[in-house]
């Protein structure tokens, strides 16, 4: 059998240093990191990396910052697994190890260019989408109106609160939020994220929608978007699976015949609408 074209070990992670850790909610913390090589990560919005903590393991984590913001890359991690738990014990100056970036990205330089963009994020779905939002806002002239819809379970679980306020103040940017369950701190809308959709005016032929959230959210959001007149190919989704190896080998992230780590995590809805296990 033929040799590999390169000697590269696809499983070998490279060292990076945590420069900032910041708790965001009870479960989620924010991490800013840079590769020890001094190089940029070289990702596009929507891609993910495999983060290693030696002795604990490796987990796929999406990049939350835009490549337009040089020097470091950012992640937000929910404390739900072995690796994420270990990450929550990290402090500035600690080492982590990185493979990637992997996967497809939001079409910020293709389909989204020149268009109105609506970002629809449920819960930690805002984490990878933030990379695209920053990218769009850093190249503001290349896009039309920007609409950001964010739904959290409760006000305590809202992420990027200050940044949401900053985005709200930008010209030609609409930010709408809702929470599933209100508390005394919240006077805004209550209910699932689809309730926000009728509140924005979409130019149906000139809008690209980016959707990311918990598995249950997609179907409902897609129905409302299509009722509003969007075509299937105007809708992009970022899907979650366990991308264990990141290189299309281990089989864990497979959705029928597609590998989320290679063919995704960002998909055009028209490409996956007939794939039974996708949504």
């Amino acid at each position: 059998m033929r040799k590999c074209d390169s000697e590269k070990d696809i499983y070998l992670p490279l060292p990076a240093t945590v420069s900032e850790v910041e708790p965001m909610t009870k479960l989620e913390s924010f991490f800013s990191c840079r590769l020890d090589s001094g190089e940029e990560l070289g990702h596009m919005p929507g891609q993910f990396v495999e983060v290693s903590i030696p002795g604990i393991g490796e987990a796929p984590i999406s990049i939350s910052s835009s490549p337009t913001r040089k020097g470091s890359f950012e992640m937000v991690v929910r404390n739900v697994g072995n690796v994420s738990k270990a990450m929550h014990g990290l402090a500035a100056g600690d080492k982590i190890f990185i493979r990637g970036p992997f996967g497809t990205s939001f079409p910020v330089d293709q389909a989204m260019k020149g268009k109105d963009v609506i970002f629809i994020c449920g819960g930690i779905g805002i984490v990878p989408v933030r990379s695209a939002i920053q990218y769009v806002l850093d190249n503001r002239g290349d896009y039309g109106r920007v609409m950001i819809l964010f739904g959290a379970k409760t006000p305590r679980e809202r992420l990027f609160i200050e940044e949401l306020d900053k985005w709200r103040r930008e010209k030609n940017v609409a930010v709408l939020e809702t929470v599933d369950h209100r508390d005394e701190s919240w006077s805004g809308p209550e209910g699932v994220i689809t309730k926000l959709l009728p509140l924005v005016k979409m130019d149906k032929d000139n809008t690209v929608a980016v959707v990311c959230g918990p598995p249950v959210m997609y179907k409902f959001v897609i129905i409302v978007l299509m009722e509003a007149g969007l075509r299937e190919d105007q809708i992009y989704l970022s899907l979650e699976r366990h991308m264990k190896c990141g290189v299309g080998k281990c089989g864990h992230c497979q959705i029928n015949n597609i590998y989320v780590c290679q063919d995704g995590p960002v998909f055009n809805f028209s490409d996956i609408k007939d794939i039974k296990e996708a949504l």
Binding site: R2, D9, Y11, G55, P215, K249, G251, N256, N257
Partner: protein, 342 residues
């Protein structure tokens, strides 16, 4: 290409010479069944075996394989275990499976751990002498094989034909290079073995050619057979474990006593196991047995053919034997789909 003809005594002498010079794994009896194991002497080699419990993939993708070593301060470095070895007695259907896995590990992101180990292996294939009771390689086009190996052995009445194909093969056959070449008659007998085996290795009869299976599956997603079979599935993953074309894996870390150093290793995993598609937080993207059972069939019969151009079932029949619930016979399922899946 050189084809030598050896009698039993010369053949055994050659096997013993091979063992002297390198690591050799060969098929041996364990009670009334057979396994690939380190070979100590020629008389232990049982080329008359029917099928081994595990396929030879265990030497290319070990059940537990160190990929990286780490030091919690220093980080990771690659670890390789690629000492050359010889695999003696691989059946044609298993050779086809090895060639398929070769493609999957080397295409796109090339897996240097797999490839470097595989490259250093010398594979001696042996035509089947005793068909196993569940084999259907004859229906899958894998009762015989013509590439991928270094040497092909065929037992004929008056001895063994040793067909040497590659440089590694010639190196291994160095001690028999002065043996006489196979005569015309022997080669005719070998042809006969091949045509007989194609018929004999059909203990289950697939009603269609394997190349139409992707199309059959393409219209069978909602077929009742998935539910009907999966209802009885224990989700034990035995079918994955014994399958020569199953290669999914999990990756884990292990630390030494010092808590400083350790290793990252991969272990075999199986898509029939309940937790295969679970993500952090506990959501299971393939929660139903039916979905897992069907996924395996689609991988073998549709998804892998899309990647490598061949159906990834070689008809070894191991899953049929291994399945406690007796639901794993691929021929039974495929034949059902062919009749009713339209």
């Amino acid at each position: 290409m050189t084809i030598k003809k050896l009698n039993k005594a010369t053949f055994d002498k050659w096997v013993n010479a091979c063992i002297e010079n390198q690591r050799v794994y060969g098929v041996q009896a364990r009670e009334d069944r057979f396994v690939f194991a380190p070979l100590a002497k020629a008389e232990d080699l049982r080329l008359d075996y029917d099928v081994t419990i595990l396929p030879p993939k265990k030497y290319f993708q070990p059940p537990r394989e160190t990929l990286l070593k780490f030091d919690r301060k220093e980080g990771f470095e690659s670890a390789f275990d690629d000492e050359p070895f010889v695999l003696f007695g691989v059946h044609p259907y298993d050779m086809v499976a090895i060639s398929q896995i070769d493609k999957l590990f080397s295409q796109d992101h090339c897996d240097i751990h797999y490839v470097s180990r595989r490259q250093k292996a010398t594979i001696v294939v042996c035509d089947v002498q005793t068909p196993s009771k569940e084999v259907f390689a004859g229906c899958m086009g894998t009762a015989t094989v013509n590439d991928g190996f270094d040497i092909l052995i065929t037992k004929i009445d008056s001895g063994y034909l040793v067909d040497i194909r590659t440089e590694k093969g010639y190196a291994l056959a160095d001690t028999i290079k002065s043996a006489k070449d196979a005569d015309e008659m022997s080669l005719k007998l070998r042809q006969l073995v091949w045509s007989d085996n194609t018929k004999l290795l059909q203990k289950h009869k697939l009603n269609v050619r394997p190349d139409i299976l992707p199309g059959v599956l393409g219209r069978s997603y909602e077929h009742p057979v998935w539910e009907e079979k999966a209802r009885l599935c224990y989700s034990c993953g035995s079918c994955n474990l014994v399958c020569p074309t199953c290669y999914c894996f999990d990756v884990r870390d292990e630390v030494e006593w010092s808590l400083q150093k350790g290793r990252r290793f991969r272990v075999w995993d199986g898509c029939l196991l309940a937790e295969f598609a679970v993500v952090a937080g506990g959501h299971n993207f393939r929660r139903n047995r039916t979905d897992r059972y069907r996924h395996r069939y689609y991988r073998k019969g549709k998804y892998m053919p899309e990647k490598i151009g061949e159906v990834a079932c070689v008809g070894c029949g191991r899953c049929i034997t291994a399945c406690t619930a007796k639901i794993a016979n691929p021929v039974e399922v495929y034949n059902k789909l062919v009749v009713e899946g339209k």
